[in-house]
């Protein structure tokens, strides 16, 4: 195991530590790096211009997460309600698109949404004659792309607790006079929180650091943190600031993962309670 750990240390731990260190240095006059200690880069992260991009990224990622969780949960619920022997088949085909190239899945949306794309053609076919609607290079297109790319994972994450759900719990709730809605809200939903949390964290973390989708579906008009990091390294040539941005991204990610761990712990407590109640 030593060679593997050495590989990870040399090519992940050390480079990441280097980025962390880089964030505390100054940018040289001609690009490059000047080795004097500074906190300016982190200050710049909170500059209204860049803080705005962070908030924007969080909003786009948050919206994509919300939509993906609602659709993914509904899909997982519907799959869990089909006959047992069919469930693996549905699940397999729900995940299959996820196994194709991310760029290609994003590109498929350019084909659908561009001015002379499939959606415009369909509208024409239904008798629409006006200007083609502009759907590509909008925030909506970026969100659609993120939801499309990460939905399979949410379905998978939500399916796991839904399939393990004891149907007697829902029956008991109904027998005791709770409505279908109340049963869902008070019994089913709380027991499936771990799946929702896992799916939501996955979508949010991958969306907020995303660089390909805003670049392709947002047409570069919608800067997200990933694009900002990219620019600092490849065009603006301000590596120290790029490094500080990357560290901020990691900090957000760790925050979200911690929140998920807490949510999962609380839910585990509830599930143990429910199990105890059902057994006793």
């Amino acid at each position: 195991m030593a060679p593997a750990l050495a590989w990870l240390t040399a090519l992940m731990v050390v480079p990441c530590a280097l980025v962390l260190a880089l964030a505390f240095f100054r940018r040289g006059i001609y690009g490059g790096i000047e080795y004097t200690f500074t906190l300016e880069n982190f200050g710049l992260v909170f500059d209204p211009l860049y803080a705005g991009i962070f908030l924007n990224s969080a909003r786009i990622a948050g919206t994509a997460t919300l939509i993906a969780v609602v659709i993914g949960y509904a899909a997982a619920y519907a799959i869990a309600a089909t006959p047992r022997r069919w469930q693996p088949v549905f699940l397999f085909f729900a995940v299959l698109p996820f196994w194709s190239n991310y760029l290609i899945r994003t590109y498929a949306w350019i084909v659908l949404l561009n001015r002379e794309g499939l959606i415009t053609q369909l509208l024409r076919w239904f008798g629409y004659t006006g200007e083609p609607p502009s759907m590509l290079y909008t925030e909506g297109a970026v969100i659609a792309g993120l939801v499309y790319n990460y939905l399979p994972f949410v379905i998978l994450a939500c399916y796991a607790p839904l399939s393990r759900l004891n149907p007697e719990l829902a029956e008991a709730s109904r027998d005791l006079g709770a409505s279908a809605v109340t049963t869902f809200r008070r019994v089913i939903l709380p027991l499936t929180v771990p799946g929702i949390a896992a799916g939501a964290v996955f979508v949010f973390v991958l969306s907020i650091g995303n660089f390909v989708t805003p670049a392709l579906l947002g047409g570069g008009r919608f800067q997200m943190i990933g694009n900002l990091v990219y620019d600092q390294f490849l065009t603006a040539n301000d590596w120290p600031f790029g490094a500080a941005l990357a560290m901020a991204l990691i900090a957000i990610m760790l925050l979200v993962l911690t929140a998920q761990a807490l949510a999962a712990d609380r839910a585990a407590g509830r599930i143990a309670e429910a199990k105890g109640g059902a057994d006793g």
Binding site: P3, C16, A75, W99, L103, A243, M253
Partner: protein, 263 residues
């Protein structure tokens, strides 16, 4: 009765809509790749001409070759290292949270962060960037994925048979070859297939660690620049082939893994 009928109908509708959402974009792409006309959005008859024109495109062929080299070499290294790591970790049973985090990190670290970290690292060491740096980078996440697949298999492994083999006088190498390896082989192959696909599809890290110039352009980098140029029917054909390769490899990987779990 009617209520449960409405419920079933509602759930079936959700299934149909979700699968339509998941498959229509891909289906349109695949259909268009066989479209005769130059216009990407008007159907004008079945044709393989875009596939034929891919074969004549030197840039795409060289990118495909680069991708194959990177994927094969990084998969080979990652499979060896990842498998040994999995055995090492599982044999000990007790390991610190630090080790666990180290193995888990490559799978969750945002691509862009690992990409810029490696770029900074390589340029600080004055490394010449090229296919070899992409390979070094790809092994990082590939070995973590191989390790996790093999570890899942080892969870149910009975280590006493390894002791038994040693007691009966087999060398460590013989024990590995005759006892441990046959048991974990399906998981090792599944992990290798997963690593191969991840490497073939990986874009961001390759983009940052490939350096300037066309010589080390990989297929995803080629696809990215083609997409940025605009829609061409060639992309549809290329996309269809790449999708077919990834989906086949991962379906195989999944099959092998399922076989393992089923035992």
């Amino acid at each position: 009765m009617t209520q449960s009928f409405a419920r079933t109908l509602g759930l079936r509708t959700i299934l149909v809509l979700v699968f339509a959402f998941l498959y229509i974009p891909i289906a349109v792409l695949v259909a268009l790749s066989f479209n005769q006309g130059g216009l990407p959005t008007v159907w004008s008859g079945f044709s393989l001409r875009w596939y034929a024109s891919l074969v004549g495109n030197a840039a795409i062929l060289s990118a495909a070759l680069n991708t194959l080299i990177v994927a094969l070499v990084s998969t080979a290294i990652a499979t060896l290292l990842g498998t040994l790591l999995a055995i090492g970790v599982e044999m000990r049973r007790q390991y610190g949270r630090g080790l666990e985090a180290l193995i888990f990190a490559p799978m969750i670290i945002p691509d862009i962060v690992l990409a810029i970290a490696l770029l900074s690292f390589f340029s600080m060491l004055d490394f010449t960037l090229g296919l070899h740096t992409i390979i070094l980078a790809h092994v990082v996440f590939n070995l973590a994925f191989v390790c996790s697949v093999v570890r899942a298999r080892l969870k149910s492994f009975d280590w006493s048979i390894v002791e038994a083999s040693a007691d009966l006088g087999a060398s460590a190498l013989t024990t590995f070859r005759r006892v441990t390896l046959p048991v974990i082989l399906p998981a090792v192959v599944a992990g290798a297939l997963l690593a191969f696909t991840l490497s073939v599809d990986e874009f961001i890290i390759a983009f940052f660690t490939s350096g300037a110039g066309r010589a080390s352009t990989t297929l995803p980098m080629q696809i990215y620049s083609m997409i940025r140029f605009g829609i061409t029917p060639e992309i549809n054909a290329l996309a269809t082939i790449v999708m077919a390769v990834s989906i086949t490899a991962l379906t195989l990987s999944q099959r092998l893994n399922r076989g393992v779990i089923g035992q």
